[in-house]
């Protein structure tokens, strides 16, 4: 949702408030025609489902050529050359042959590489990767992330990585925003957050990770309850129903933003309790 809102691709009946700033311009104030020139050009996106994100009736080459011809005005033949170069860049073997393949002839990992080539085609300033490896198996996940990381550094792009995999986040990001129920609960430098888990939800996320040496037969720690109905979110803290620290004040009042060390921000009513719970764990 957040990623789609950034791209201005939410359904028509959705309303977006606030601002999305890129190069000093607020994207929310742009017209649809202006947004069409931003999407795929200055800001590109990689989706979660590589299996269904490519059009089954067009060749992958044609799909990669599309943004090139649209935004860069390349001719058909030079767009084709560029598509082959891009396929090579994302590590697809025999790019000159693969370019005329249909998506069903490629594996999931290859399709995600094609999606990356597509997103990369116009050298965007910002690359949004919305759980890019969730649908892939573990060995491919690693390759894809490494590829994204390399490309981001070589092309000088900014990467917005959306993931629930803490290992992926720790390895690939500089800053983290932890979100729960559509609101930011904790944000800051990746190192700070991983050193000083503070918000009860962030602590829960870490507690739920399997740990090396935790022993067989021991159950994983879970956060009690389920994700709240997004239509009827509590008016105060969205995590109230599942939080071990919650008290009467939480449900009805929006929690304050507490500044920790540096730019580390935590949105919680019970900051002191949360900080002191770090050592013994909130969910044991």
């Amino acid at each position: 949702m957040t990623a789609l809102a950034l791209m201005g691709l939410l359904p028509e009946n959705a309303s977006t408030t606030g601002s999305v700033n890129l190069d000093g311009e607020n994207l929310l104030q742009k017209s649809e025609a202006e947004m069409c020139r931003v999407r795929g050009n200055k800001m590109a996106m990689i989706f979660q489902e590589p299996m269904t994100s490519l059009n089954p009736v067009h060749t992958v080459g044609r799909q990669i050529m599309e943004p090139l011809r649209l935004h860069k005005g390349l001719s058909k033949s030079s767009a084709m050359q560029e598509a082959i170069r891009l396929l090579d860049r994302v590590g697809i073997p025999n790019p000159a042959e693969r370019v005329s393949n249909y998506p069903h002839q490629l594996s999931g990992g290859q399709r995600q590489r094609v999606m990356i080539a597509l997103a990369l085609s116009c050298s965007p300033d910002v690359l949004i990767a919305d759980e890019p490896t969730t649908a892939l198996d573990v060995t491919i996940q690693d390759q894809i992330l490494e590829l994204i990381q390399t490309l981001v550094q070589e092309e000088g792009m900014s990467l917005v990585l959306i993931s629930h995999d803490l290992g992926v986040i720790a390895e690939n990001t500089d800053n983290v925003i932890v979100m729960y129920g559509g609101t930011v609960v904790e944000s800051g430098k990746t190192d700070h957050i991983f050193d000083q888990l503070t918000h009860p939800y962030t602590q829960g996320l870490f507690a739920a990770m399997p740990k090396v040496g935790m022993g067989r037969g021991k159950r994983l720690t879970t956060i009690p309850g389920t994700v709240p109905d997004l239509i009827n979110l509590p008016s105060g803290c969205t995590f109230t129903d599942r939080c071990p620290l919650a008290s009467d004040i939480c449900a009805g009042n929006i929690p304050p933003v507490n500044q920790m060390e540096g730019s580390h921000l935590v949105t919680c009513h019970h900051l002191q309790q949360a900080v002191s719970a770090r050592s013994k764990g909130l969910y044991e």
Partner: protein
């Protein structure tokens, strides 16, 4: 691709052989003796027997079946029992009306359907969409023979733009014939176009929810470009399926409208032949209709493979 075509072609032949057996059997079981119908109820037993022998109907069914099929393979359809003229002559006259009528109706129907269906889908849930779908509901509900009568009353009797019925024959000039076919084609195409429009709309809306449409939008394509470049082709599979069924229906199932416009088409010919127990005409015409339906399906199958490369891959 060639394996795909070969498989489809074998299916086509098998269907036709099956159809010929069913048609022949049904005509055998059907009560009513052709000789008796031709001679009338007062005929003597001996004259009926003589005519039966003359028509070759006294021979065993299996022999007559293979005779029929053998004749077909040599392009020999036999003579009508009732009119004593070659069946091919009867059929040819009917085909010259039915086939152009079917094609004209189909062109009208597809045009109506694509324009309305795409426009409604592009304006999903807006006033124009709701209105168009209301109109198409009306189009589906109107019986085509009644619409035919209304069209005759208004465009032929009041405005005198088109003839109220009949067919001049192709030797009288192309436009004169097309003119005679326009009102029946409109009557037939209204219902079919309305159904097809609804299918087009829902199919387009369904494809709009696919992930690859979001990808196309994320590339920077506008809503309209996405519709034309990514949605349309994917949405065509159900539309083409129904188009195939409708074309088959236009070839065989237009008796009522043909009668309203006094058009001696295929439907009317076969109906008359059934009443006359002119079994040889019925068998040949029905088999021909079956062949046209099967060939239409064959073409539809090929179109599927052209539209969606995945289907080719599964078959080979």
């Amino acid at each position: 691709m060639s394996v795909f075509l070969a498989k489809r072609f074998i299916t086509l032949l098998a269907t036709l052989i099956g159809a010929s057996i069913v048609i022949f059997t049904v005509m055998e079981i059907l009560p009513g003796d052709p000789a008796l119908v031709i001679l009338g109820v007062d005929a003597t037993e001996s004259s009926v027997a003589a005519l039966t022998k003359e028509l070759g109907l006294d021979r065993p069914p299996l022999e007559r079946y293979f005779d029929w099929i053998g004749g077909l393979l040599q392009g020999e359809l036999g003579n009508s029992y009732a009119y004593k003229v070659p069946v091919s002559e009867l059929v040819q006259g009917a085909l010259q009306i039915t086939v152009p009528l079917a094609i004209l109706s189909m062109i009208l129907s597809v045009t109506i359907a694509l324009v309305i269906g795409l426009y409604a889908a592009a304006n999903h849930n807006k006033a124009s969409d709701v209105t168009l779908m209301g109109v198409s509901q009306l189009g589906i509900s109107v019986p085509n023979f009644w619409l035919a009568v209304l069209l005759i009353l208004y465009f032929a009797v009041n405005l005198k733009w088109f003839p109220p019925g009949g067919f001049p024959g192709w030797d009288q000039g192309f436009w004169k014939c097309i003119n005679a076919l326009i009102l029946p084609a409109v009557a037939l195409a209204t219902v079919q176009g309305a159904i097809l429009a609804r299918i087009t709309r829902s199919s387009v809306l369904e494809v709009f929810r696919e992930d690859f449409v979001r990808t196309a939008r994320a590339k920077g394509l506008s809503q309209r470009a996405t519709l034309w470049l990514h949605v349309l082709r994917n949405a065509m599979i159900p539309v083409i399926t129904v188009m195939g069924l409708q074309f088959a229906n236009l070839l065989a199932g237009t008796v009522v409208v043909e009668n309203v416009f006094y058009l001696p088409g295929l439907g009317s010919t076969v109906l008359k032949a059934i009443n006359n127990r002119d079994t040889i005409v019925v068998e040949n015409v029905v088999l021909m209709l079956a062949a046209m339906v099967v060939i239409t399906n064959f073409v539809v199958d090929i179109l599927y493979a052209v539209i969606d490369p995945r289907l080719k891959a599964h078959d080979i």
